[in-house]
Amino acid sequence: MQTVLLENQESFILEPEQDTLYLVLLDKEADLGKIKVDLSFNKSEVNCRLLFLGRLKSKSNWQIESNSRHFVPKTSCLTEFYLSQADESRVDYFGQIYIGQKASQTKSFLKEQSLVLGKAVFNRSRPILEIFNNKVKASHSASSSRISETDLFYLMSRGFEKNEAEKILEEAFFNKVFDSVKVEEARELIKGYLC
């Protein structure tokens, strides 16, 4: 599977020809962010993963959109978002999976997780499924929650300061994604982003 880093652009219109891992690393320094990725599957037997990682800084404001559109049989796409949100950050996320009537045996999943680190955070998400074929597997899941108090307490009881403990848990959150990426090239990119 090839790795393609999507950067320096607001909008990407893509038609994958081969198995690809698209990696989007949201700018950690940006105050105002906007990105849109359109993936149209017009070639059979193409499997993609679209991975967004974002550590959103304090008071930043993000608009993110993803579309996976499946028009032919036997394609698959896994779209994932892992975002951590600092104080007063805002995210408006719109994500769509479209499976056309001819696109049998499509698998398309959307997974969205945001970890709320700070105060006064706003999070809007609209994960949309539009399915016009019955021989498919499709799902989306979204969850937004704070760092678990139990985990925080556990670490603090071992002598960590609260902000240190939060940092460890944020790392743990992203490490789960990191571990799921097997392509070395992508792993290096993610590693660079996280530290």
């Binding site: 049998s104 809007r124 937004s144 704070r146």
Partner: protein, 469 residues
């Protein structure tokens, strides 16, 4: 074991449900909406001036409001081709012979009693309910519970009525709420006094007559502090109506520590647009549960909501949608968390078959004030053939601190392995599919009153027999 005529019947049931009765069968009344029609409605009900004014104001709002710009297309609705008012006596002019054979056959299959059939087909204005109902009424009177028609409540309990009426869903809420506010007729009024627990479900089915089951029903419910009750409306048997538009408004107030469940099962004939606004306002530690099943109609748009306005309030929505033959079931729920420690749950299950489309459309809003709030949403769609479709449009807006929001949606077909397993035990494909569909919706069906659950399963069986290829 299959009857030879069954296929035919089901084809008819499937294809021809969208017929309309010949126009000659009804006395001609004014079509379209005018001040005169609204005044006629109000005058015939001998309403106080404030209500007449409210209706006329609502008419103005209706005219100004645009059609919804989202959701499925409502272009085909022609407001000038709708009859907005019809008297009970005119309903009686219709005869059983005029009821289409398809509807009669379906009643046969479901074993609906003759008295009910005439009522459901709109031949009889009043469904003479059984003794069970009058004994319930006596019980309710003793407890101080008010359960009557909206017209009766406006006359006899005017203060209470005026205090709550249209306070949760003002006419200006949306175009169809405005239409209902202008032309409303029929529906139930329920008041449960503080700390009163109504054991038996309040069933509108035993109360309604054709006028009340009209196209612009209005229901107002107040569950006072610490009370509990369960209200059930609709029925699983198909309800034939020549009106092409049904637009009801339901307002429920759930006071502190009260608990209210509102169950709806609707199976309108296939010519009907069913566009309903339902809303509950839930106070401190109150619990509101919507249970909603939609089987019929040409198009349903219905998103019951809970406004969780005080600490500890809880809102729940359990829904089933069954879309077939180019029907569109566009349903969902809205949970608005406006105070701290509030929680909500939405479970929506849909089945799309033979060209039907089921959509889930929902909102979870957690305001800044709603600290420590929780919401969980689960949407499961079953899609049975390549002619059908299913879409999911959730919207989650979260600003409350320490909010925990979970959302899951999945689309699946009937698994071949399960089909084979059941067929290897001797079930034919239709029976196996029916069993699996019934199993899929069972978590919601089990929340229905028993007789509704049994009828619903029977109905799904009947529907599946004609639709599985």
């Amino acid at each position: 074991m299959r009857q030879p005529s069954l296929k035919k019947l089901n084809d008819a049931y499937a294809e021809k449900f969208g017929f309309s009765m010949p126009e000659k069968s009804v006395l001609s009344f004014d079509f379209g909406l005018s001040e005169k029609v609204i005044e006629d409605i109000s005058n015939s009900k001998k309403e106080p001036k404030w209500m007449k004014d409210f209706r006329l104001e609502s008419l103005q709002i209706f005219r100004q409001k645009p059609m919804p710009t989202w959701g499925p297309s409502l272009e085909e609705i022609d407001f000038e081709q709708i009859r907005y008012f019809i008297k009970d006596t005119d309903v009686e002019k219709k005869t059983w012979d005029e009821v289409p054979k398809e509807i009669k056959d379906t009643f046969d299959r479901l074993g609906v009693l003759q008295a009910e059939r005439e009522f459901l087909a709109g031949v009889k204005a009043q469904y003479n309910s059984e003794v069970a109902y009058s004994s319930l009424q006596a019980e309710l009177d003793e407890q101080g519970v008010i359960f009557c028609s909206m017209e009766e409540a406006l006359q006899k309990h005017s203060d209470l009525f005026k205090e709550y009426f249209a306070k949760l869903i003002p006419a200006a809420d949306n175009k169809f709420a405005a239409l209902n506010s202008a032309a409303w007729s029929g529906g139930s009024f329920v008041y449960i006094p503080p700390n009163t627990h109504v054991k038996r479900p309040l069933q509108s089915y035993f109360r309604i007559n054709a006028a009340r089951m009209g196209q612009f029903e209005r229901t107002l419910i107040i569950a006072d502090e610490g009370s509990s009750a369960h209200y059930v409306e609709g029925c699983t048997a198909p309800v034939y109506s020549e009106y092409s538009l049904h637009s009801a408004v339901v307002e429920v107030f759930v006071k502190k520590d009260a608990r209210f469940r509102y169950t709806t099962i609707q199976n309108w004939s296939g010519n009907i647009y069913n566009l309903v606004t339902k809303r509950a306002k839930v106070f401190q530690n109150g619990v509101m549960e919507w249970v909603d099943g939609n089987l019929g109609a040409k198009m349903t748009m219905k998103y019951p909501s809970c406004y969780l306005v005080e600490e500890g309030a809880y809102g729940e929505m359990l829904s089933i949608a069954y879309a077939k033959n180019h029907q569109i079931q566009d349903t969902g729920a809205k949970m608005l968390h406006l105070a701290k420690n509030t929680s909500s749950k939405i479970i929506a299950k849909s089945v799309s078959i033979a060209g039907g489309q089921s959509n889930y459309r929902g909102l979870v809003f957690i305001s800044k004030a709603a600290k420590n709030s929780k919401s969980k949403v689960e949407c499961d769609a079953l899609i049975l053939d390549d002619q059908s479709a299913t879409c999911t449009y959730p919207d989650m807006k979260i600003s409350g601190e320490n909010a925990v929001v979970e959302h899951e949606a999945s689309v699946s077909e009937i698994e071949e392995e399960k089909l084979y397993y059941l067929m290897s035990r001797g079930l034919d494909k239709t029976e196996a599919m029916t069993l699996l569909v019934a199993g899929f919706i069972e978590p919601i069906v089990k929340e229905l009153p028993l007789e509704y659950a049994v009828e619903l399963n029977r109905l799904i069986e009947l529907e599946m027999e004609g639709s599985v290829g």
